[in-house]
Assembly symmetry: D2
Homo-oligomer: 331 residues x 4
């Protein structure tokens, strides 16, 4: 019973079907009919004109999106535990040509206007210091916490005031929207660009970068190619993304993953380090207890010495989730 990562889940059957169907599409790169559908489909989803590009990974999506906002001598304000800071092997430094991450603090890996203001307040030395050019928030955060629309608005206000770009890392955007029970547009709020994740949510190797100022996508067309991310058979990436949008599969899958986590959370309630909102749970647990769970066949990652991380996916079996919740409750 696997609760290691939503990356470990299989590809959703409807995604497989769409990919197979793409065998028929036959022009290379992103000139095929499927790729050309993306702008319209995301514009419909978000209710305003946007441009969307596929790319294979969240790391590439985040960095390419930020490249529209940040000069090489600038900085990106992000949480000190953000994925771009902790888990991307310095990819922002590579894609942004040496730009810097300016680290803010905040509960549950969420940024707040106050935390951002603290970073901005420390930038006082003119050309001797890296200036902030953008803010990046993660919906949901590394600890599985969502930003409510009014929280995003407050941060966006600060961004506008300081003339900063605003990016949202949405590796688990679907799970966030499902939890918030709001529209995609509300879950994204007034950000400039969104890395809309599908891989963890039933896709194989396709995320979308959504630009709410469609012109910004033009720069990224060049940068994506230059980064070796313009796949020659891009139709198979487009097919994945479109399948995830069809009949809101993205939401359906996210709801399933969240529901499985909620089942576990029921059994682990007193041990939860953060409120259970999406498909990630951080559960206090000592070494002996971990061993006991593993002996029962549950697989998961340790998160430091006193905590474990449990991740469910669209494919998690509710029965397994129940078993795990019960096992934790019985520890």
């Amino acid at each position: 019973m696997q609760f290691l990562s939503d990356n470990a889940a299989p590809v959703h059957p409807r995604v497989w079907n769409a990919m197979r169907a793409a065998d028929g599409a036959d022009t290379p790169y992103d000139t095929d009919a499927l790729s050309r559908e993306l702008n319209a489909r995301f514009s419909a989803l978000f209710g305003r004109e946007c441009a969307a590009l596929w790319v294979a990974t969240g790391t590439a999506a985040n960095c390419l999106a930020l490249a529209t906002m940040v000069q090489p001598h600038g900085g990106v304000i992000c949480h000190e535990e953000a994925h771009i800071e902790m888990d991307e092997c310095g990819a922002p430094g590579f894609y942004l040509h040496g730009a810097k991450l300016l680290l803010a603090k905040g509960e549950g890996a969420k940024l707040t206007p106050g935390g951002i203001a603290d970073v901005l307040g420390g930038i006082t030395r003119g050309v001797h210091q890296v200036p902030a050019h953008a803010i990046s928030i993660t919906q949901a955060s590394e600890y599985g916490l969502t930003y409510r629309p009014e929280e995003i608005s407050a941060i966006a206000g600060l961004a506008r005031e300081h003339d900063l770009g605003l990016h949202m890392d949405g590796a688990r955007f679907a799970n966030a929207a499902a939890h918030l029970e709001c529209s995609a547009a509300e879950a994204a709020g007034p950000v400039d660009a969104l890395s809309f994740g599908f891989v963890k949510n039933g896709g194989m190797g396709a995320e979308a970068i959504v630009f709410f100022d469609p012109e910004k996508a033009e720069l990224v067309r060049w940068r994506r190619k230059r980064a070796g991310h313009l796949q020659s058979k891009g139709r198979y990436l487009a097919a994945q993304v479109l399948a995830m949008l069809d009949d809101d599969l993205w939401l359906e899958n996210a709801r399933a993953a969240n529901a499985a986590a909620a089942i576990i959370a029921d059994g682990a309630a007193e041990r939860l380090v953060h409120p259970a909102q999406i498909n990630e749970l951080f559960v206090q647990m000592n070494a002996e207890e971990r061993a006991a769970l593993r002996a029962q066949g549950f697989a998961f990652y340790d998160w430091g010495d006193t905590c474990i991380r449990l991740v469910t996916s669209w494919a998690s079996d509710p029965a397994d989730a129940h078993a795990l919740g019960k096992a934790i409750a019985s520890l």
Copy 2:
């Protein structure tokens, strides 16, 4: 009848099957069982110990391979019409942090020791000039011409003498090996790293970077992640590559593509700009003739004003090839 690009061909059924089977593999990134098979499989193929990493595109493969050889202040000697120079939107400049391509001349987009020596001979100004750190050759070249083993050896000798790395862009390595009727080891010769292409030859989105000094792969593990090319569901890329190696599907597909091109070449013999060796043909043709072919349903790219490019693939219907050859002969 499509002769635009081998990128436009569908994914081979055996590759599809292998990908579906990978749904069962469940650890992320390249920790899955399939990814861990690559080193052994390529070592067996090449008859010497090597390390191999999957990556989605040839551009990424080329640039990551070169990153093991070239410092940011160095240069890569390549043909003035090489893919890395003409078609990758400056990706080598990005991945190599500003390193430079040092352009050599040569018939049919092939490098020769003489052409390389001309470049080296022009580097005389010490720190004022970009020094050469590597040579990159393309097997087969942009014009579909192969390097025979002794040609590669001669270039490798020059590389050793000048302490330069030697990289092979093998986007159509399979087609070259099929044409040369030699082993993979002979078709690669003593290069340091090979970008082994599968996407044009029946894959979907997986190439292999093969390092004949396995330690060099370690650097690329970091650089691949940093470039956003470490896909979280890497098992699907590994599956593609392994399927292509199984029972020499890579050779089988390449032979089919080459054979289709040979059929066309029969009809176009007097018009061929370069000898027909692999699955690319460059055929002299004026505007009127092009229009005539297109009117008969043949799709292809213009190559300047007096020439067209025809590309076959593993999926080309020999009947279509016959039809095209005949149509050209009848012009």
Copy 3:
């Protein structure tokens, strides 16, 4: 008798005096009174509002100027023998984060609208190819040839038409203006930024980057610092530049250098590879003749196998120039 390089000349006494006087100025970086004078002084010289920054070298000046025009994925059209291509160890690749030099041909290392159009005409593959973002011309060229105002205008017209920045490398801008007998404004023409050289012309280690759109200088303030070129005792660089502008020392020195070259050219007229315009001469000469000159105490660089390069400076002794001209005439 030294004709190796104008870099080998001493610092002009009036520059020394100005530097000594700067001991009194006492705020660091470029906040001192001298540095703050630059904008006004260059605005007066060029007769339009401009912003000017000091920097220690022509390489840094060229690259920082280009950074205002060229994105990392873009290219700079320059002559295939331009200094930025041949003599800066890939500095443009470093400062422009991997951007590419797009090489044009042209007599005497000068660009022409035709040569530029040839480069532009070869850029046809959309995102697969590096797009041109700027043109860089050198006043005077690597072979000592000047651009007349109407030549610059023609190139500037092409730049505007294609939305390209236009940069002038003016390492020997003073010598060019002196030869052209025109104003600084006419010798610069409608370029966007000028690397105005002083080091070869009597300075020690200070060039100016002049931005004819003053806002562009703001970006370079950051980039200069980031490149380690914001010297903490910048007042001594400002002092050099101001001394060169005072009473047109820049022109006076350039005229002296040009005059010395003209004297030599008189004796070498039939051997000149390019017309003698400024303080550089390229003179056909075989090995035996070179040896004969060197035996007479003349120092100079070989320029390939059949040619030598002679460079005079503000400090060249006319008697030495006469002696050299006579010696060449007598060969």
Copy 4:
């Protein structure tokens, strides 16, 4: 009475003299006799073979030194208030092609083995995280505190154990050595490269990068040129450095600066935030008190809301220092 910065001090007369004398040296870049003396002179000073290169600024010196130790995907462990982190506008990100600064904590801006170990202990995610490639310490630290030889040794031991390069930012290395009353070799300890500062200590625009593995300097010769830091009249930089070494002017000037600070410290003893060791003092002081001092003609920078920074130089008048000490004591 100026206590703003040692950057604001004039150039020392013996440095001026040496520069004037360099007018005679006449080969460009670093091929002149003075530049070629540096290796031997620093080898003599440090009692072991080393290679030394001049460069105009400390920022360039730090970044070029680090370039010999740090790959673009790696990181540099430094103090969270180090100059490379706080005051160089992201220059390390530029020169190291996106490498990251990994921030450690420590009293008085000094690194400790414990602080470094904390950073190393947090790097656990393999290729997903930036690996440490080097450690950079500052002698003396941003708060004017020196590392005793045994402290450097302890850090060097950790560096060796983890295969990390060790760099020393010695912007005020002379002041540190003067305070420690030890040799240059002891003050540097077993670091791999030292940015040996002269500009703050009586020079104009020349620092030295000293490589204790002389081969490492070779890489930097290329990188220095590529960064536009190979000045064509480098003889004037070499002259400055040599003048500072002659008869230990570097130590003489540092002692004078330290002595002036000690005088002030006497009057400010109870207000000192850090022990007075070199020529920088951080003194607790409220707004009213600052105003009072300024009204008496003392110039200095605020350091946050409750503290000021006072910096003396080789040129500080002891009488001014007495006056300031007395003025502070009288507050």
